[in-house]
């Protein structure tokens, strides 16, 4: 029997409930207000009082209003049809809601029950199976969507019967399994899973050993993120966080992209709705939207659902990972999620940590980041969830709890810098402060040696070092004046500018420059390093400046043209002549 209760206290969306039976942490309940039923989640229990966070506005709620507990946690519905959907933080389908305004207590089904899917069985009758094993497959867009033994099944099962290949809706029983006690359990194409619990169902989780391509040079060349890796992008407002994330969403080498717009501007999500259905996935030639799920809990939507949104998004990624697919999760911004935690902690009158955030913030963040990763499935195939979150540090100051906690959890750090953004040097990722821990992994170094040529990591390190030395030289020039330093300082500075303009900066709005394939990135890094290795002789600093400016302009034209196209080679030739001219 379900527990019930009644409201005895209200502060904003934190409601205290007097309970008459057992309730679980994170259990869901419905609070009834007139003819509206509002969803809420237990976040604290003390004696016979439960504190619940309500996923809606509590306006008009009264003490004494009835509460009904559900005996389950917040769950995601997992099945074919998740891709190209637009959900709110609780996985309600936003596209099927009526009216222009969101209505309190209106919950819509995440999956379509009428739609038919072409199903092919993969298992055979008599097979021994465990949770997450593949029973069959449907085509979702161009992706093979596996129908699996539900993750919640414990122990070993025997396949008793399987539906033949055919067209079915998601509620059709496609298999009957017999458990160890001889009981038959039907399996449909849809299963549910509590979002706050990680989906296991794999054999092991090895260290990542591959690079996930993004087409963005500051990522791939300088600080690559691994497939199944984690990274985060902190930056003050106006530094191009969202533009950078959208670029990665468009170009990231993944089968499935889940974008969680967590407490951010609604118009940014509208941009995704408007653009993605038109844009083409560079890897498959299909529409981008076909591989994308959007979880959208914009800043004006209920705060509690903001927290849920990142978990819902992660659960969907883990589901696709269990099918042996490569998933990329982008969350913008995890600071808003942390702020949601802070608001609740504050209303519960908990003792605060730094900046009034809850003391366990760090643990919550690292726990979430740990759900990403590459896995080896029970059948030996691999799948991955790569996670990149943005952080919006208050006042642009990276010494704040969310940035610091995230830095402990994420392996890649892409610091966006106000100064670079002001100079319109996009993407405004600081080349010196940013890092990728993966470059230290022997597995990754081996992978890069194999795919990018022996000693690749050393080349990257050299380029970074040149940037650092160029910055030092520039500081000296600024202090001592153009004439006050030796010529070599100017040369050193301009070599770092060359790396900056040609490799670090990238025109996200140019159709060719925005997405650089790996072979092209390799070619350009080697070309630029080769130039940096040359010794130049200049009469004066003005000649040096002019010379490098002209050279940068030629190389830039190469960036703007199709790799190895006629135009590209033409500029390459022009560059050769330009460099030779100086030699004479």
């Amino acid at each position: 029997m379900k527990s019930t209760g009644k409201v005895i206290g209200i502060v904003s969306n934190l409601v205290t409930v007097q309970i008459d039976g057992p309730v679980a942490e994170n259990e869901l309940c419905y609070i009834t207000l007139g003819d509206t039923r509002m969803l809420a989640e237990v976040i604290k229990v003390n004696g016979d009082k439960a504190s619940v966070q309500v996923f809606e506005s509590t306006r008009g709620l009264r003490n004494g209003d009835p509460v009904e507990f559900e005996g389950r946690m917040l769950e995601a519905s997992l099945g074919p049809g998740l891709l190209s959907s637009v959900y709110d933080g609780l996985q309600n389908d936003l596209t099927t809601m009526e009216g222009v305004f969101l209505k309190r207590g209106e919950y819509t089904d995440p999956l379509h029950h009428e739609k038919l899917w072409d199903y092919t069985p993969l298992a055979s009758v008599g097979d021994k199976v465990i949770a997450a094993d593949w029973l069959g497959e449907v085509k979702e867009g161009w992706l093979p969507h596996k129908i699996m033994v539900p993750f919640s099944f414990k122990g070993e099962y025997t396949v008793k019967s399987l539906a033949p290949a055919g067209s079915y809706n998601i509620d059709t029983t496609i298999a009957v399994l017999t458990d160890e006690n001889g009981e038959d359990v039907p399996v449909t194409m849809v299963q549910k899973w509590p979002v706050k619990i990680a989906i296991k169902g794999y054999k092991e989780k090895p260290r990542p050993s591959k690079i996930m391509r993004t087409g963005v040079r500051v990522f791939d060349t300088f600080n690559p993120i691994a497939e199944g890796g984690t990274g985060f992008i902190p930056g003050p407002f106006g530094c191009g966080k969202t533009v950078l994330q959208h670029a990665i969403a468009k170009q990231g080498e993944a089968d499935v992209i889940v974008m969680a717009a967590c407490g951010e501007r609604a118009n940014e999500v509208v941009e995704i709705f408007t653009e993605f259905p038109e844009l083409i996935d560079p890897y498959t030639g299909r529409k981008l939207m076909e591989r994308t799920t959007i979880i959208c809990n914009t800043s004006n939507m209920p705060v509690a659902a903001r927290e849920a949104s990142v978990y819902t998004a992660m659960t969907i990624c883990e589901y696709y990972r269990a099918m042996g697919l490569r998933c990329l999760l982008l969350a913008d911004s995890t600071s808003r999620w942390a702020q949601a935690l802070r608001e609740m902690s504050n209303r519960m009158e908990e003792l605060p940590g730094a900046d009034a955030f809850p003391v366990d913030l760090s643990a919550i963040i690292s726990n979430f980041y740990s759900r990403a990763g590459m896995v080896i499935l029970n059948n030996g195939k691999t799948g991955a969830v790569t996670f990149i979150g943005t952080v919006s540090p208050a006042g642009g100051n990276l010494k704040e709890p969310v940035t610091e906690s995230t830095k402990k959890a994420a392996r890649c750090f892409y610091a966006l810098e106000q100064n670079r953004a002001d100079q319109k040097r996009y993407p405004a990722v600081n080349p010196i402060d940013s890092y990728s821990k993966y470059l230290e992994y022997p597995e990754i170094r081996e992978y890069l040696d194999e795919n990018m040529g022996q000693g690749w990591v050393d080349k990257v390190a050299e380029a970074k070092n040149l940037v650092r030395r160029g910055k030092e030289a520039n500081d000296q020039i600024n202090i001592l004046g153009d004439d006050g330093v030796p010529m070599s300082y100017h040369e050193r500075f301009w070599k770092s500018e060359l790396i900056d303009f040609i490799l670090l900066q990238q025109d996200g709005f140019d159709p060719i420059d925005c997405n650089a394939p790996m072979d092209r990135q390799k070619y350009m890094l080697e070309l630029v390093l080769d130039i940096c290795h040359r010794e130049f002789h200049f009469e004066g600093y003005e000649q040096c400046r002019e010379y490098f400016k002209d050279m940068i302009n030629i190389l830039r034209q190469m960036n703007y043209n199709e790799f190895h196209s006629e135009k590209f080679e033409q500029y390459r030739e022009e560059l050769n002549q330009f460099l030779e001219k100086h030699g004479n």
């Binding site: 502060v11 306006r59 106006g238 800043s299 004006n300 209303r347 004046g481």
Partner: protein, 440 residues
Amino acid sequence: MATKAFQKTYTQLSAITKATISLQAKGIANDELAVVNGKLAQVVKTKGDTATLQVFAGTEGIPTNAEVSFLGNPPTLKVSDALSGRFFNAYGHPIDGGPEVEGEERQIGGPSVNPYKRRQPSQLIPTGIAGIDLNNTLVSGQKIPFFADPDQPYNQVMADVALRADVDKIILGGMGLSNDDYLFFRHQFEGAGALEKIVSFVNTTEEPPVERLLIPDMALTAAEYFAVDKNEKVLVLLTDMTLYADALSIVSNRMDQIPSKDSMPGSLYSDLAKIYEKAVQLPAGGSITIIAVTTLNDGDITHAIPDNTGYITEGQLFLRADTDTGKVIVDPFRSLSRLKQLVQGKKTREDHSQVMNASVRLYADAQNAKTKLENGFDLSDYDLRCLDYAKDYAIQLLSIDVNITIEEMLDTAWKLFAKYFTKAETGIKQVFIDKYWPES
């Protein structure tokens, strides 16, 4: 305040702070209004049988045996076309001597628009000010604040922008306006003969600060009526949002909440977002555009109020005094309109974005030259030309007293390029140079 029949009345307060009162009461609804000794109050917390209410007008003079009557509903506004041309206080009552407005009674602070039902903003809002139209073009459905020190003429600029903008309705939400500024707005609106399309909700400095908390929701409820029900283009002016946030911190402080950065409540981001995110382009054609003012403390944008605002709004317009020309300008470096690329070159002339980038880049070169000059280094010929250009650019384009069409702004910029620079120095695409470079 008129009282209704069958309302619950209490006369025993258990606690009083400067902004809140608490009492034993049963069956109280969250957000419900009450009248405490003739002052309007709203339920902000219930715990067991104890309800805590924020008293908008402050608790001065409220005794422990004050009469408290609950009204049974959250704050509302009566909406109809009769709102046009009227001035109201924070409670939606006329302050212009006219009659109460009849219309449908709506709860303020209503639900959000389903993000999926929004449309991408695409209509240009010209203001005549080149620092805005040329460099930081506004788009209907956008939300953008002026960041300005208290001594900048932000209210004047905002009134200019409002009266020049091609919109159906202008809703003014004045929070902590000085009486002089209130009369200024009133005078401007009347003088422009535009009173018929303007609705004003005003809380002046003479009125209690907590009342301000009602102003944005009142203004936006009126805006939603015109934008959603009437499919009109509505422009909402909110000044000054810093004073609004200050009022929020007063209430949260009185409720013993733990403050976060700069003694602001932890929910500041959500509180501000709920207001700004009402800006919307609706599918049926109506729109709400929000232009706000956030006053700064000595240009400090890292303070929690401008910082949170910057993360919510779609850019900011930064006003500052230009010491070289004595003009107030829209700072081209620190200002940003995130939606400008949706209209630049699409709804304006093709050379718009190139001309904008070139003119700002050259202005940046002038700043570098200035630094060189201040540090005692020699200036090159190019540096000197940049400095001369910067003066003309500030006076003819950046200054807030400019009022010309976008076409004229572009032509002015081209003239300045030709006057001071070579074609190559502008770095503009050759096709545009061929077409627009002025013949001498």
